[in-house]
């Protein structure tokens, strides 16, 4: 009896004690601390997941979050310099959250499925994930963009097999390319640069539209493509990939990684691709694809103490030869009437980079980093009778200090940089050379309130030894109406010194004379734009809608005019206007648990003043559409992908000149729309994956891509007037072997 009374009292007391907690069960209190040393994090953001109800931590890391508006049970905790965490808090009134510091060098770990459209970055960014990369033929960077709508890849001419990217309707040269956030493959490497990074080297690719950050220099105008290379710490022990296609081109890749000590790890990546078989499917007497041998090795090291110091070193060496032209051409044949027309190029390139960063003790938001990189690019080539050879030596040093004013709502990055470039080009006896020495300094301020607003303002000042002071301001704003509706605005200036020959190698495969206006000036442009992202859920399936608009206007541009005359290409400074207006709307939605859909529509209006007349840029269609269907059975054992790209009508130059017409007008004609389909099926086993795919499945080809293909030494000969695929349907198969 006594005991039951005691029990009752105990129960009552317990209820009494618990009642206040039950009553306010919805209000959440807690503390956010650093996982490594348990120090409180001040100003960390705590938000009910999927709502805009948020708070931030006080000077001791404590927070109180008012009840969730509609019964949410999870909170998202984020803090600059730390990995955000989602915590289930159902039935809990108090939580302690430990956040882990993100390593000081900007790098994100990719594991399995990742959001393709980041909700966190202040810039309009997309990610091509490791999984996306296996959706198309592995081989190199060019194919990596196949399942992405924002970056276009086009064939530059009908002979060299070179591919170029385009963003916002602008040439790839206006896109800054970086590997692990270090500028790479610039300048004279441009013509074949997409070949130089094998698909198996790549962990993921970030695509940033608009001018981006000032940290990486003044060059990006239309955007940035950052290739994240495999991380020595996280990548597989062994990866072997073999690929072969119906043109008898084959690729082989081997990646191997070692963890030498708990702090030191390395990955060695090897690649070769070879084509030894002559293919002329369109019967124009020219090889559809040049014969080639390419050897490429990349070695990356990472030293991570797990505390303050992180260092990375990477070195790459490659050698590539290509032989193209008429089917009968053999290396060394004379390049004159009566012989066979041929092109040959030999490239050797070595490059290296190092990144070292130190994060201050007990100040995870404060760090200092040094980036060093150097490259030598050496090439020797001839396109018919025209020889083109040269080299480029580059060096870059970039010191970045990152910290906060008071609390982490106000952070900044500042630093100094020094860029050295030594260019030397010989075009058929004409010598062009220049040396650039560019010291610079930059400052970037980032304001981030704890809920929904991020402002980034950056400016850099560089002193160019040839062109004087260069000022580059850039701004980014990100505003979240709610966590599912995000607006981004960007404005910025870009500056670059053009390399007219390297950026127009296609025109070398013609008998046009190259004319350069005296004192070609650097290119300068403003880029303004913005994007709106809406994440949605229909029938419990998630989707995203992204729309963006960018306007790029050039203050100066080196305009290649190959349209006014069929016999020459003239490079002049812009005299008038040149702009690009680009609009894109994209929707991604999971149709069923196994079927994912991505569709996009793009509109481009790109105009340039040629010879005093503002005209549509030839070859760029106004309308484009893109559709990607991705199918995967549970656990991705079977995967199938189908991508369709549709290109609307476009203007192409008509090279049959009527001598009675006045010389300045570009004669154009309209060509029909067409679509290209690519598909791939993959079957995964525990360690093996086999894939079978096809590119250009409908076998759409441009008729007569080479003008005067039968008279390659005549003045009319021109292989650069290409707007549709030159190679027809290609079937490929391959296998991957992975040891984790």
């Amino acid at each position: 009896m006594l005991s039951s009374k005691r029990q009752a009292v105990f129960a009552l007391t317990l209820t009494g004690l618990l009642l206040p907690f039950l009553g306010m069960a919805q209000t959440l209190a807690g503390r956010v601390i650093d996982a490594a040393n348990s120090t409180p994090l001040i100003g960390a953001s705590v938000i009910w997941l999927g709502t805009s109800q948020a708070t931030s931590t006080d000077a001791n890391g404590h927070f109180t979050l008012s009840p969730a508006p509609s019964g949410e049970t999870a909170v998202l905790i984020s803090y600059i310099g730390y990995k955000p965490d989602t915590v289930q808090v159902q039935g809990r009134a108090h939580i302690v959250v430990q956040l882990r510091s993100a390593t000081a060098i900007q790098e994100v770990t990719i594991t399995g499925k990742q959001d393709r459209y980041s909700a966190l970055t202040p810039t309009n960014s997309q990610v091509i994930t490791a999984m996306d990369l296996t959706k198309s033929a592995c081989c190199n960077l060019a194919e990596s963009f196949e399942t992405n709508a924002s970056v276009e890849v086009s064939t530059s001419d009908a002979v060299s097999g070179a591919k170029q990217i385009q963003m916002l309707g602008l040439d790839g040269a206006y896109t800054l390319m970086t590997t692990d956030n270090v500028p790479a493959l610039r300048g004279l490497a441009t013509p074949y640069r997409l070949n130089y990074l094998s698909g198996t080297y790549i962990d993921a690719i970030d695509i940033i539209k608009g001018t981006g950050s000032v940290l990486n220099g003044y060059e990006s105008i239309s955007g940035q493509v950052n290739v994240r290379l495999k991380d020595p710490e996280k990548t597989d022990k062994l990866l072997v990939n073999l690929y072969g296609n119906s043109l008898a081109k084959w690729d082989a890749n081997v990646n191997t990684s070692f963890t030498l000590t708990p702090k030191l790890s390395t990955v060695l990546m090897l690649h070769t691709d070879q084509l030894n078989h002559r293919v002329d499917n369109n019967k124009d007497g020219f090889l559809d694809l040049p014969l080639g041998k390419h050897y490429n090795a990349f070695n990356k090291w990472r030293y991570d103490t797990g505390k303050q110091w992180v260092a990375e070193i990477g070195v790459q060496a490659l050698s590539e030869t290509r032989t193209g032209g008429q089917v009968g051409y053999r290396s060394g044949m004379p390049q004159e009437e009566g012989s066979f027309y041929g092109t040959e190029s030999e490239t050797e390139r070595v490059s290296g980079f190092s990144k070292t960063s130190y994060t201050f003790k007990n100040k995870p938001y404060q760090s200092i980093g040094l980036i060093l990189s150097a490259a030598r690019h050496d090439f020797d080539s001839h396109y018919g009778p025209r020889t083109y050879d040269g080299y480029q030596n580059s060096g870059l040093a970039n010191l970045i200090f990152q910290s906060a004013f008071g609390n982490t709502a106000h952070t900044y990055k500042t630093g100094v940089s020094y860029q050295y470039e030594d260019f030397q080009e010989n075009l058929a006896g004409q010598r062009l050379s220049r040396k650039e020495r560019v010291p610079g300094a930059f400052f970037e301020y980032i304001y981030q309130n704890s809920t929904n607003l991020t402002l980034v303002g950056g400016v850099r000042a560089d002193h160019h030894n040839l062109y004087g002071w260069v000022y580059t301001p850039r701004f980014n704003v990100k505003y979240d109406f709610n966590p599912n509706s995000i607006l981004r605005l960007a404005a910025g200036k870009g500056f670059r010194v053009a390399n007219p020959i390297a950026e127009n190698v296609a025109s070398l495969i013609s008998n046009r004379a190259f004319y350069f206006q005296n004192n070609l000036q650097p290119e300068k442009a403003w880029n303004l734009g913005g994007s709106f992202t809406q994440y949605f859920e229909v029938g419990e399936r998630k989707g995203a809608f992204i729309t963006d608009y960018y306007y790029t206007t050039f203050q100066n541009q080196v305009v290649p005019d190959m349209y006014s005359s069929p016999y020459q290409i003239t490079f002049t400074n812009l005299n008038g206007r040149s702009f690009s207006k680009s609009f894109q709307a994209e929707v991604q939605y999971e149709l069923t648990s196994m079927l994912d859909m991505k569709a996009a529509y793009k509109y481009f209006d790109v105009r340039t003043t040629y010879n005093g007349e503002l005209l549509q840029r030839p070859f760029i269609p106004n309308h484009r559409a893109f559709l990607n269907l991705g199918f995967a059975t549970p656990f991705d054992k079977w995967r199938a992908d189908l991508t369709a790209q549709w290109f609307g009508t476009r203007l192409v130059p008509s090279m049959e000149h009527d001598m009675n017409q006045h010389e300045s007008a570009i004669m154009t004609r309209t060509v029909h729309p067409y679509a290209v389909f690519n598909g791939q099926i993959t079957r995964a086993f525990k360690r093996w994956e086999v894939y079978l795919g096809g590119e250009n499945l409908l076998d759409h080809k441009q008729k007569n891509p080479i003008i005067a293909a039968d008279r390659p030494f005549s003045q009319e000969f021109d292989a650069s007037m290409v707007w549709a695929p030159v190679i027809g349907r290609v079937i490929y198969a391959g296998l991957r072997f992975t040891l984790k």
Binding site: A35, K83, D85, V87, Q88, V96, V97, Q98, R100, T109, T111, G112, E233, K234, T259, P634, F635, D636, K637, A684, F685, K686, K740
Partner: protein
């Protein structure tokens, strides 16, 4: 007498062992393994990883209890092999610890001491 007892005992034990073995060799086996999984991402990793193991029909992780229920074909695989597979994915399986390299490669949120 004593020796006989020992003999008998051994016989019984052998019998039991073979019964045990026979049971382990049946087609529709099910086993529950306590793992070190802590989050939804671990669930995805484990369930996907085991789907690629020979002889495993189905694997389901209950995140709250950390118990992984595996139904498998005992003629093609064994409990030891399944546990080893779990270890190689970076997780402890009952008393058998995770492979250190695999554990290191896990995302921070999937590590044992991650706070959730």
């Amino acid at each position: 007498m004593k020796t006989l007892k020992i003999w008998m005992l051994s016989l019984v034990l052998t019998g039991l062992a073979s019964v045990g073995f026979a049971q382990g060799g049946k087609k529709g086996e099910e086993v529950k393994i306590k793992t070190s999984a802590v989050c939804g991402m671990c669930k995805a990793t484990l369930e996907k990883g085991l789907a690629y193991e020979k002889g495993v029909n189905k694997a389901t992780l209950d995140v709250d209890s950390k118990v992984l229920t595996v139904s498998y074909n005992g003629e093609k695989t064994s409990l030891d092999k399944i546990k080893k597979a779990v270890n190689e994915l970076g997780y402890d399986a009952d008393n058998s610890p995770a492979t250190p390299r695999a554990y290191d490669r896990l995302d921070a949120c999937c590590k044992k001491d991650a706070v959730h």
